[in-house]
């Protein structure tokens, strides 16, 4: 039983690589357009980052957070979200898949529907956001005087991965809604894209209702604000036990992934295809 499950999982992983490989090959046929898209995406996102920096022209700090610290939050959110987009965009484009009944094709094949959708829209040009986030992190390192211990350096990618899982979880939940109604997908999009905006600023600047929403309902604060308190050595960190701050991304990602997975499985059973 377990053996069979593991074998299936390995099969899925190797299939993911094959699908993504074929998508890459077909994208590489248009190398110039790929580069142009990458550069345009990068430039577009840079203005977003500039807007944050310009904010600090007028205020020295944002409720006690320096420009470097906010750049850190922004970089963290961008990389996580960028990776989620890179690896999970098939779920982001799911309304189209449903509208055109392409999910029929997915269900005809002997692989997990999840893996097939996940690998369905891999586009390298989405690297733009990750590059942009990495640049923001670079500035954050330069502008803050945080002592980066080996533990903290090792922990940083863990937080990024947990963030990625959480964002992919949003995509999956949004996609799951499409099994009932494609029209409501805008609602899910607002939470997902609004969520990255949200994660780019320190939690306390928001209204308390919003803080609670993004902590307990959509646990974004657990992969941005709370671990950043620990990583940046912010004074607020002393309000919480350290293990709680450190464990929060893992717990939030695991829980959210489970919820998204269960919802997805339930949704697939309610897929209705189209009449023509």
């Amino acid at each position: 039983m377990l053996g069979a499950t593991v074998a299936r999982l390995l099969e899925d992983v190797s299939l993911y690589r094959i699908f993504v490989g074929s998508r890459l090959r077909s994208q590489m046929q248009y190398r110039e357009s790929f580069l142009v898209m990458l550069v345009l995406g990068f430039v577009g996102l840079t203005t977003e980052f500039l807007a944050i920096i310009l904010l600090f022209n007028r205020f020295d700090t944002l409720i006690g957070w320096s420009v470097g610290e906010v750049a850190f939050l922004y970089g963290l959110a961008s990389i996580s979200f960028g990776m989620a987009e890179l690896f999970g965009a098939g779920f982001d484009n799911f309304p189209e898949t449903i509208r055109r009944a392409e999910f029929d094709r997915v269900l005809l094949r002997p692989q997990s529907a999840f893996v097939q959708v996940l690998s369905g829209d891999f586009q390298l040009r989405r690297l733009g956001r990750i590059l942009q986030g990495t640049m923001a992190l670079g500035f954050a390192f330069a502008w803050t005087s945080v002592a980066w211990s080996p533990q903290k350096l090792a922990y940083l990618p863990v937080v990024v991965l947990c963030g990625m899982v959480l964002y992919i979880g949003f995509f999956v939940l949004g996609a799951t809604l499409c099994f009932w109604t494609v029209d409501s997908v805008e609602v899910a999009n607002i939470i997902t894209y609004g969520g990255t905006e949200f994660a780019s600023y320190p939690l306390p600047i928001y209204h308390v209702l919003m803080q609670r929403f993004f902590t307990f309902v959509v646990p974004l604060a657990f992969v941005s604000y709370f671990p950043s308190l620990y990583l940046l050595g912010r004074p607020e960190a002393s309000d919480w036990p350290q293990w709680l701050l450190v464990a929060s991304p893992l717990a939030a990602a695991a829980l959210f992934a489970l919820v998204a997975w269960l919802a997805w499985g339930f949704g697939v059973k309610h897929y209705r295809s189209t009449g023509s």
């Binding site: 099969e11 074929s22 009944a101 005809l108 094949r109 109604t181 609602v187 897929y271």
Partner: protein
């Protein structure tokens, strides 16, 4: 031995009332105003291994819905179904390796990849060993004449080529069961005849069980011994194609336009023919294939009347379904 069993299958769709705008979308999430559409209504049948069965009915009868349930794409509202001993929507992944499906309206291939690359991807998807893959590919290359377009991206293929590509894609993993949902739609006469030959060969040589929907009565009469007729989700007929042909398929209709100089009120009186419908100078004359050839029928008309134009109509599926209703008979 039945390889497909369908017992009291029912599938209905809840169709929501659409609302405009963002607020409408939010309300659409919670409210349940709409109505139910029963696509498949209490259908039962069995198909034995090696059979080739036609599944026909007018638009919206529930054919595609039934096939989607049999593949595991849709979960039925109620009823029992087994395909190759599996419950499709519960054991979808295992079943997928045992079935092939062609949906004429929609390709299963990758739109922007050359056909051959789509096929190689499918080899990995279905885990087909290389020697089997190569043997099957060369078999289909020959009978489907794929060589001219194997390296062409699918989006550039003609409809007939694409359909052949889709058929190969459905059969590369040697499934014992093949579903075909309108595999001849949009094909010209030559391509259609070729497709039929291939289907016949696959069914005969490889013993593949085939369930086929089509709107073309000729597909059915040339390919199938047995057919199922459904309408409004209900099974009207399950039996031999021959019996239907004898009963309704014998009836052809000669549509004639009388010359303007002939002023005739009411139906024409002609031996062996019934004038079933009139519209101005146009008359629909029904006659039986076993009593008169088309040539004899035409002579019978032209010897008595001056006509300007004529066409010969073969019985189509819609016509047969209509006649079943008219006769009030559930066969």
């Amino acid at each position: 031995m039945a390889i497909i069993t369908v017992d009291s299958l029912r599938k209905s769709f809840w169709v929501n009332q659409r609302r405009a705008g963002f607020a409408g979308a939010v309300r659409g999430l919670v409210s349940r105003t709409g109505h139910e559409v029963v696509a498949v209504d209490d259908i039962s049948f069995e198909i034995a291994a090696g059979e080739m069965v036609g599944y026909i009915g007018p638009n919206g009868a529930g054919k595609s819905t039934t096939i989607k349930v049999l593949t595991g794409i849709l979960v039925p509202s109620s009823g029992q179904v087994t395909v190759a001993g599996l419950v499709p929507w519960e054991q979808r992944r295992t079943l997928a390796g045992k079935i092939g499906a062609v949906f004429g309206q929609r390709t299963q291939l990758w739109w922007d990849l050359p056909l051959i690359e789509s096929l190689t991807l499918l080899q990995h998807v279905y885990g087909v060993p290389s020697d089997r893959f190569n043997a099957n590919l060369s078999y289909f290359r020959e009978i489907l004449e794929l060589d001219g377009f194997l390296d062409t991206p699918v989006r550039q293929l003609s409809l007939g080529q694409r359909m052949r590509g889709d058929l190969v894609a459905a059969l590369l993993h040697e499934p014992p069961i093949l579903y075909l949902d309108e595999p001849t739609i949009g094909l010209d006469v030559v391509a259609r005849a070729r497709m039929r030959e291939v289907l016949q060969e696959i069914n005969r040589e490889r013993g593949v069980t085939v369930l086929l929907t089509t709107h073309d009565m000729d597909d059915i009469s040339q390919l199938c011994q047995r057919m199922l007729i459904i309408d409004h989700g209900k099974l009207l007929y399950d039996g031999s194609v021959e019996a239907i042909r004898e009963r309704y398929g014998m009836e052809r209709t000669l549509v004639v336009d009388l010359d303007g100089s002939e002023e005739i009120e009411g139906p024409l009186e002609l031996p062996g023919m019934t004038d079933v419908q009139q519209d101005g100078p146009r008359h629909w004359l029904r006659f039986r294939r076993d009593q008169a050839s088309a040539a004899e029928a035409i002579t019978a008309v032209t010897s008595r009347h001056r006509i300007r134009d004529l066409t010969l109509e073969e019985p189509d599926i819609e016509g047969i379904v209509r006649r079943i209703y008219e006769g009030g008979d559930r066969l």
